[in-house]
Symmetry: C2
Subunit: 421 residues, 2 copies
């Protein structure tokens, strides 16, 4: 994409109404815009990151048998009355239409997915079943000071699993845990993310959170020094011994909850009368699990843990573009070289048969009235993994520098393509 | 995908609370589920269709320079007060949080995109600019009897264009009109969709609707018998002569509005003070256009115009799968043949380098306790373009039948692959 055509421009100053590093950088760099506290627009660069994260998650959810659906945000009050959460869920948005009929705005989707599952699940033959979606969630957060880490409206992946019994849930729960580890590994958060024991509700002893170490975290976790798993603050007082390995030595740290998985048991199947017949024709409540990841929160967490004072440092897997080509060309020759390189990279791997291939994703800083200093500052702020510079001085070669490193080197086109593919 | 694993099952009976053909077929076939009047869940098959339509639209929007963003549904009252629509828009959902602060649920996004554009548009050098999104819209429709044609919550693509002047808007408006024609052409609605003159508001003489002929349509259009363009009912009384070609001979027909494009002029830029400086530094209100397509409505319209008494007939471009492989195999040989064909087609075109390619999309009816009659009935209901049958009788070949045709023929695997690719 041509940077001269990009809708957004970078800002030198951090917005005054944002305290968090993620919001400051993401707004300055033009990834998101704040509509009001806790509510953000994803701008072209930011939406590219969200789509990358979405695809990483989708691949892992499909790999564990998830079937993608899309459930409504607008939900009937009756469903929320059935589970009791119309009265008890504090941060649920409630609204009315002209006929005074009441609705909830989906803060979560158990109240929709459970009666939906009931329409198609009848016997053990229909189980297990796994449904997931990417959909906006709405929660009436009064304090929203963490940028895109905690929103009133936020994009979430929620997966729900349905089982004949607890044993089958346990088996899938472990698979989901592994899939979640893969998601955070692929998103570049693997090193800093700890599986964390949390309260399990009435059904199971523990649920699990995925907590990424960060000073921006609102949570406190206690990391077992033996196995690396952790215990969250709420239950640490009771537990004191690592439920995973028995370790007794812990280190306290701040962390951001980037995902959670939870055994629901029959909490939602019971009120909606979701049962399955066994081989003898006897009916039993279906056993459920739920598994959530906030996409904006993952994106914000990546910024919190991967930046320097100049800007964001995107991991390749979620970066809006792979390479940032900066033209400082003055001579006709080097101008032509930059144009040609942009086209070559963008078209790379596209077969002549017209089959779809995205090529190498390049943001091309073709702006002419902008100084070299400003272009370099923008590149650091935007955080695209590979910076490529072409100027009259590079004499037909390309100056290549990784965003995460300080040393640049001159390469020719062939070598560059080898590095980028 | 294995049909035995699919979440949904078909229903023999049409749902009693649905009058429309689209909802009856889509619910029976398991494409959508009704949560309440005007609010539907997209199930695995239905979401696949929506994603196909989304990709057709995205390609066309990108081709006319659109940059994709994602704006919130939850919107501050102040923005709607600024344009006066907080008071005047009848079907706007309004809600409050705990502190009694009021919000609108996005019925449309001019109130968000205009102040957003103001943050990045300063001079004529920043124009023109085109922003679009796919996002849920919410409208308080009291009557919702048309299935997914008219929802209270519905997925919409909305594009907004920003220009220095009317002339530049006019130029882009024509490009957008062509892009819309492409979208409906590619979605299989081209033949029946008429560009239709509609009221233009205060800024321009006309806006344009894209109206697809259908008995299910809530609109009446008057089609010019000379050029094929049409005039909608609201303005036909005043116009009487085709604004496109001057023709005077019209035919009245029912139609569904699948898209519309509208010159907004300065209606929204003025209240938000969105201006651009010209070369002399003088400020002028930015001129805007807006361009909408409802994805669910396109999907529902396709069902309305492309079905028979047995079920849906999807055009290839939007079908959930390209081929429906039905195994009636009894012998070990033909069972193995079906398994192998499913794998061959699914893997088709995938290179060994592991580059992504979706292969040929096949729904494989591998169910064993289901009769041939039921399988054929399901295939007709689901409406996948190519039906492939393998049984002991096909003797190593495949019986191929198009959903839209009645004749079947025996082909070998090589010929089949040639037809499907």
């Amino acid at each position: 994409m041509l940077q001269s055509q990009l809708f957004t421009k970078t800002k030198r100053e951090a917005p005054k109404d944002e305290e968090s590093i993620n919001a400051q950088f993401l707004i300055r760099a033009g990834f998101v815009d704040k509509l009001m506290a806790g509510v953000y627009t994803y701008l072209p660069l930011g939406l590219r990151v969200i789509k990358k994260i979405e695809n990483i998650i989708r691949e892992e959810m499909n790999a564990i048998g998830g079937q993608e659906i899309f459930m409504p945000a607008l939900q009937p009050k009756e469903n929320w009355m059935a589970t009791g959460r119309w009265e008890t869920m504090d941060d649920l948005y409630r609204l009315k239409d002209k006929s005074e009929r009441e609705f909830a705005l989906g803060a979560t989707h158990e109240e929709v997915v459970t009666p939906l599952a009931k329409k198609f699940i009848d016997s053990y033959k229909d189980l297990p079943m796994y449904l997931y979606q990417f959909q906006d969630k709405f929660r009436m957060e009064l304090r929203s000071k963490s940028g895109i880490l905690r929103g009133r409206e936020f994009i979430m992946k929620d997966l729900y699993s349905f089982h004949t019994d607890e044993k089958d849930l346990d088996k899938y729960y472990k698979k989901a845990m592994k899939a979640y580890e893969n998601v955070f590994e692929k998103s570049g958060l693997g090193d800093k993310t700890h599986i964390t024991f949390a309260s399990g509700g009435s059904f199971s002893k523990y649920s699990h959170e995925f907590q990424t170490l960060s000073e921006a975290g609102e949570d406190i976790i206690h990391i077992c020094q033996k196995c690396g798993q952790a215990i969250n603050k709420e239950i640490f007082g009771e537990v004191k011994v690592c439920p995973n390995c028995g370790g007794k030595d812990f280190e306290e740290a701040k962390a951001i909850e980037v995902g959670n998985i939870f055994k629901l048991g029959t909490k939602y199947s019971a009120p909606f009368n979701l049962k399955s017949k066994n081989e003898k024709g006897e009916e039993k409540d279906v056993v459920m699990g739920c598994y959530g990841i906030g996409l904006g929160r993952v994106m914000g967490t990546i910024v919190e843990v991967s930046h320097d004072d100049k800007g964001i440092i995107w991991p390749e897997s979620v970066a809006p573009f792979k390479a940032h080509l900066i033209s400082l060309a003055q001579s006709a020759n080097s101008k032509a070289q930059a144009e040609k390189l942009y086209k070559t990279l963008s078209a790379y791997g596209r077969s002549t048969e017209g089959r779809q291939n995205s090529g190498i994703e390049v943001l091309y800083d073709d702006r002419i009235e902008v100084s070299a200093g400003e272009k370099f500052a923008d590149a650091d702020l935007l955080g695209i993994p590979y910076r490529l510079v072409i100027s009259d001085k590079t004499k037909g070669k390309i100056e290549l520098k990784k965003r995460a490193e300080s040393e640049a080197k001159l390469v020719d086109e062939e070598e560059l393509v080898r590095i980028l593919t």
